[in-house]
């Protein structure tokens, strides 16, 4: 086991939340084995979590509407975990004007992320 690392992670893909043990190569970090996953999605998650952990980002931005003052937004795809807070800081500076439709793109390339930020809700006025 000298050249291998044992890492404990939790799969967050579905509500089962399997507790997994991941064996990686100490030198290049590749995943050699995954244990404790109930389904194949666990392996995909483990590989991603070791090389580039990602999360769905959700927050709100200011909106200039007659009824509401915040618009819920999300990243269309999961974004790298370590830039979640940077993206949120950029979104904090934004102000949107209605009408906005759920799914509409609100921001792109924020903090170097590849995922679009889209509106979660429809606000017509």
């Amino acid at each position: 086991m000298k050249d291998k690392n044992k890492i404990k992670i939790r799969c967050i893909t579905c509500p089962v939340g399997c507790s997994m043990e991941v064996i990686t190569d100490k030198l290049n970090g590749t995943v050699l084995d995954v244990k404790g996953n109930e389904c194949a999605k666990g392996i995909k998650f483990a590989k991603e979590e070791i090389s580039n952990p990602v999360r769905i980002l959700t927050t709100t931005v200011k909106i200039d509407s007659v009824k509401l003052c915040r618009l819920a937004v999300r990243s269309l795809e999961p974004v790298p975990k370590d830039i979640v807070k940077d993206i949120i800081s950029e979104l904090r500076k934004m102000k949107i004007c209605p009408p906005v439709k759920a799914g509409q793109v609100i921001g792109q390339n924020l903090s170097g992320s590849k995922s679009k930020i889209i509106a979660s809700a429809t606000i017509s006025q």
Binding site: R10, R74, T122
Partner: protein
């Protein structure tokens, strides 16, 4: 979030009270089933219930096989309601229901019409739930400001757009507590920790991982808040370890500085309206006693969603709303109604099981909540139906479908009782 109609008729086949996911699903399903004359009443300015303020992703995995946010999930049903032209009254509070000669008189109020009555052949109650407050869990100490329930803070932050404080202590580690801990952290607050009185968290493991572990927010199991310090504004809380009986351990207390205490200590089905027409409540679920058609003890009045019992996931609430509409259709069609004469009892290890009464003429899917976490356990129905589980926890409801022949086998004798209980292998 759409605008409601302000014109309304005086008579409806079905009045649905509450425009959250349960009420919206019931309305859409009723329309699909051909119940045309439907009215949906919601006291808030918009439809969706608590979904518009639940901005995180985690909704719809079961029904849509995608991880949607609360507002996204809600908008799918809002659109269907607009398309089907269902009469919707927003900003309208239902205050009273009377059952007269089989008809239901719903008294409601809003700013356009004042108080007014609506006559409906049937009613679906989809009222959601309330949060337990400090008074209901008895935390001693002064009464400063800065103590809020999770849902109130969630609304402030996500809808109204302001932060209640900067240094937060969270009491309760259910999913709502975990999700709000992450939300406050991402809004720049110092989240000092999540304190849980039980030796286990009732929240999903994935939420512990992605809401706490991701941000190094500590979780203290077998701990509770035993005092609140501060005159005008909360300045600190006293936290203590608890023993197996959940009593604070002497000498284990310490002081944690904070300006906000976020309480996530449980939900209670909302049923004040149900009580106005004498609907019988279950003292365990705190929601109405219902049969397999979601019908309450008052004929023609149905209940679903969080006002029936507190659900973990919205997909189940949607399905419950649909089931209530189906039950309602049978009632409106005056199908000969089978009396629910079999009583369902919650035994050892079972907190509750719904429906509480069944007829034996239909297959039934029971919603069951166990009272404590168990490994390698089974849930048994009477003496001869058992289902095994690797893991059972109060945080995740179990659904078990039982065929009508088995039901009749189990409740065949004079007693007409089915007892549900747990055990280990």
């Amino acid at each position: 979030m759409q605008q409601g109609k302000n014109n309304y008729k005086k008579k409806y086949d079905l009045a649905i009270i509450g425009g959250g996911p349960a009420g919206m699903a019931a309305a859409v399903r009723a329309h699909e089933l051909g119940i045309i004359n439907v009215l949906l009443i919601e006291r808030d300015k918009y439809l969706g219930g608590i979904l518009p303020q639940c901005i995180h992703a985690g909704f719809g995995l079961k029904i849509f096989n995608r991880e949607l946010t609360g507002p996204e999930y809600s908008s799918i049903f809002e659109e269907k309601i607009v398309q089907s032209g269902i009469d919707t009254m927003l900003d309208t509070m239902a205050l009273n229901i009377k059952s007269e000669n089989g008809l239901k008189i719903v008294t409601a109020a809003n700013s356009s019409f004042g108080y007014f009555d609506i006559e409906a052949k049937s009613v679906i109650l989809a009222l959601g739930c309330r949060e337990r407050t400090r008074g209901q869990i008895n935390i001693p100490g002064s009464r400063p400001s800065g103590v809020y329930t999770a849902g109130v803070i969630q609304r402030m932050v996500n809808i109204e757009g302001y932060l209640p404080g900067k240094k937060v202590v969270v009491l309760g580690s259910g999913d709502i507590g975990l999700i709000m801990a992450r939300r406050m952290h991402l809004e720049g607050c110092a989240v000092k920790g999540v304190f849980e009185i039980n030796p286990f968290s009732t929240g999903l493991l994935r939420n512990i991982a992605q809401c706490l572990d991701d941000f190094n927010i500590p979780l203290y199991l077998s701990h509770t808040v035993t005092g609140i310090i501060g005159k005008k504004r909360i300045e600190a809380v006293k936290v203590s370890k608890v023993d197996e009986k959940l009593k604070p351990v002497k000498g284990s207390d310490r002081i944690i500085e904070c300006d906000t205490l976020l309480l996530s200590v449980g939900l209670i089905p909302e049923n004040e309206l149900s009580l106005t027409c004498g609907i019988l409540l279950d003292n365990k679920t705190l929601g109405p006693v219902v049969d397999e058609n979601c019908q309450t003890s008052v004929k023609g009045i149905f209940s679903c969603g969080n006002s029936l019992f507190v659900n973990d996931i919205v997909d189940n609430v949607t399905q419950a709303g649909q089931a209530a509409a189906e039950g309602c259709l049978a009632y409106l069609n005056e199908k000969p109604y089978e009396e629910p004469s079999i009583e369902v009892q919650a035994g050892e290890g079972i907190l509750y099981a719904v429906p509480q009464k069944i007829s034996g003429f239909k297959d039934v899917t029971f919603s069951i909540r166990v009272s404590r976490p168990m490994k390698n356990a089974y849930i048994a129905f009477g003496d001869f139906f058992k289902k095994k589980f690797k893991f059972l926890t109060p945080g995740e409801m179990v659904f078990i479908k039982i065929k009508k022949d088995i039901i009749n086998g189990l409740a065949g004798g004079k007693t007409r009782v089915i007892k549900i209980y747990t055990g280990s292998k």
